[in-house]
Symmetry: C2
Subunit: 406 residues, 2 copies
């Protein structure tokens, strides 16, 4: 890679662990896509000496330096002061920045507090980067072949300026191009995926194939030096893994599923027990999901399974709420009352309590009903309540996706 970058995150709350720094991972990934290597990440508190030192050191060892945080209008916000110290420049007032900040306040129906006038001050020779989601503009300085960016710490604001301004500037400056693709899988263990593509990985010299596992699935990241090579390796992996791959780059499983349902003109409803609404929440993460998601019930009590879904008391007693049979009845029940094409259900023992030798914590049944048939699949997840619920929702969405992709 030709350019090297350093990321500096600023704020006491990051050092004390009160805030988990997600900004630097986000920036790292985006810069990597441009073939820019991150060589250092530094976090420092709201201390002007340390901020200046960190920026100074970073400019010595990297071509690109990006800071986040410390751009607000209050006394705690020291980034601009540190920047002018390092670059030996003055802060100058820009009328047009003030107007933008004022207009951002107006849009929210608030008149601008006086303190925010500070935000119209930026270092001499710097370019202000417009902040659509907040009041503090970002700052860009090009000096002695170094590219310096100061961005706000609020993730939404940082991401918006990064995407709309910073990446465009960097794209023009990078020489070597890297070609990357991320393939997303779910439902198959990392070791099994690895075994399947092991031969390909070992035979490949020009393309890096990296595995990024999480408890919701494994992403496979390909990095190649030419687009042709990338396409070739991608094709081979897709041939081997088939529909284990549900999408590319940063698409979410619910978006893939939503597109499939729209395409095939199918509607869905859901009956949730152990997930308590999480499957519905995942569906409705997608803007426009009302076109394919009709309704859901969170049938947490047995009575609600009987009253809302028509599951019989007898079946509940005979098989228990967490059973293949009840999962199927829940899916059929929600499909019937909603008059949707598909009915989906989840029932399980999320934990930490409620497990028995026969039905341990982590046991989950996902039910699915459609025009001609209904069935349930059994899963055995782990011991952690939160993870079990997240994995159940993921598995439920994936079950429907696989059904639609048959």
């Amino acid at each position: 890679m030709d350019m090297k970058a350093e990321i500096i995150t600023i704020g006491d709350e990051i050092l004390s662990g009160q805030t988990i720094d997600t900004n630097s991972a986000y920036i790292g990934e985006k810069l990597n896509h441009l073939g820019i290597e991150i060589i250092f990440k530094t976090s420092i508190g709201d201390n002007i000496k340390n901020i200046s030192e960190a920026i100074y050191n970073a400019l010595n060892r990297a071509d690109v330096v990006i800071t986040t945080g410390g751009l607000g209008p209050t006394n705690d916000d020291l980034t601009k002061k540190a920047v002018v110290k390092v670059f030996r420049k003055n802060l100058v007032f820009h009328e047009e920045i003030l107007k933008k900040v004022e207009s951002n306040f107006r849009k929210r129906g608030i008149s601008m507090p006086k303190i925010n006038q500070n935000q119209a001050l930026i270092p001499q020779g710097a370019k202000a980067l417009n902040n659509l989601w907040g009041t503090a503009p970002g700052i860009f300085i090009e000096d002695s072949k170094k590219l310096f960016f100061a961005l706000p710490g609020v993730p939404l604001e940082m991401r918006s300026i990064l995407e709309s301004e910073v990446l465009k500037i960097l794209q023009k400056k990078t020489k070597t191009k890297f070609f990357q693709k991320r393939l997303k899988t779910t439902g198959t263990a990392e070791s099994i995926i690895y075994e399947k593509v092991e031969k390909l990985i070992k035979g490949e010299r020009d393309t890096n194939i990296a595995f990024l596992p999480s408890f919701l699935g494994v992403d496979i990241k390909l990095t190649a030096k030419s687009e042709e090579k990338l396409i070739e390796v991608e094709k081979e992996i897709k041939n081997i893994l088939g529909n284990t791959i549900y999408g590319e780059e940063d698409i979410a499983l619910e978006e893939v599923l939503g597109k499939l349902l729209l395409e095939k003109k199918k509607t869905i409803s859901v009956a949730e027990s152990c997930t308590g609404g999480l499957i519905g929440k995942r569906f409705t993460n997608v803007s426009g999901s009302s076109q394919w998601f009709e309704r859901g019930v969170i049938s947490y009590s047995n009575l609600s399974k009987i009253e809302l879904l028509g599951v019989s008391e007898e079946m509940l007693e005979k098989y228990g709420a967490v059973s293949e049979q009840v999962a199927i009845l829940m899916a059929e029940g929600i499909r019937k009352i909603s008059k949707t094409d598909f009915g989906l259900s989840a029932t399980g023992i999320a934990g930490p309590t409620g497990g028995t030798p026969e039905k341990p914590v982590g046991l989950v049944f996902i039910g699915f009903a459609h025009e001609n048939d209904s069935f349930a699949e059994k899963f055995l997840f782990g011991e952690d309540r939160n993870t079990n619920r997240e994995r159940t929702a993921q598995a439920a969405l994936n079950l429907v996706r696989l059904f639609l992709e048959r």
Copy 2:
């Protein structure tokens, strides 16, 4: 604070953004509780020169240096090599460490691969810190009054060694004790809270009062040099802010609400539109929530509001699905069919589309019905779909909490 610490996280996957570094936030918070201030955090890749340099620099400016990552048995794992370089020591073989590593493998029913013999090598004079959850032991070196710890990068392993070994060592070394408390608020803007406690903050010299805002609320962190002082300031703040404070330390709002419902022997049900299941999901984050949460419906379509909740078509047409009137009817409807003490509802325009001048994106009504009455509250959140939904769920939970705490 008497001691200063630096955290170094090691691994290419952190720089490239493939892994979000949660370790350093965790360590930062734990050290803060001991009154140890974190002055720097650095992340570096799997490069022996950069790792050595980072450790060297950290030892120069901090009393305590903690690294995570790079302790595994493979060629990528360079931390130990860098450590012996910085401390000018050799790696020595420890039979008893090998036995522990072998026994850790045996417990998992696996025989130890040869490569793991490396893990019995630690720097001369260092203490091995036993790893209950993995195979790589941690390392502790005390040298020229500096305390150096190398921990594994896997969060579970890192946390276990930190809690069982590192914090105990540090506790013995710290002189000053700090007393801390975190008070959690929601529903009131940071600036308004600030105005209320401004006088207290300005008059307080011995207690640090820090504000930690997020889009779900503002945490107030108190740090005092004596327990008496902490209790005094805490009491004053509680007097001023009253029920804006919902809890302490890291308790979640749903846990507070669950305890209140249990105490007062009340049950609840929920009808969700814009949140799509998120309120139910928040309720059921709490283990044992089946004692107070009976059921929910995700009435995403108008038809489902009519069929499941008995909202009349006429009202939907007259006022629209996003209205005070419909929010109330939804809450009354879910309470009636569930026979719970309380019915809660949420209907709003989550965005990014669907807004009109009269009903913009971010407009939300939360409805609440109980034995004697029902009402709805209006909120105007922002433009981001995800944030709007998270804030709606938080506001809904808080509305019920405030009702119970009257």
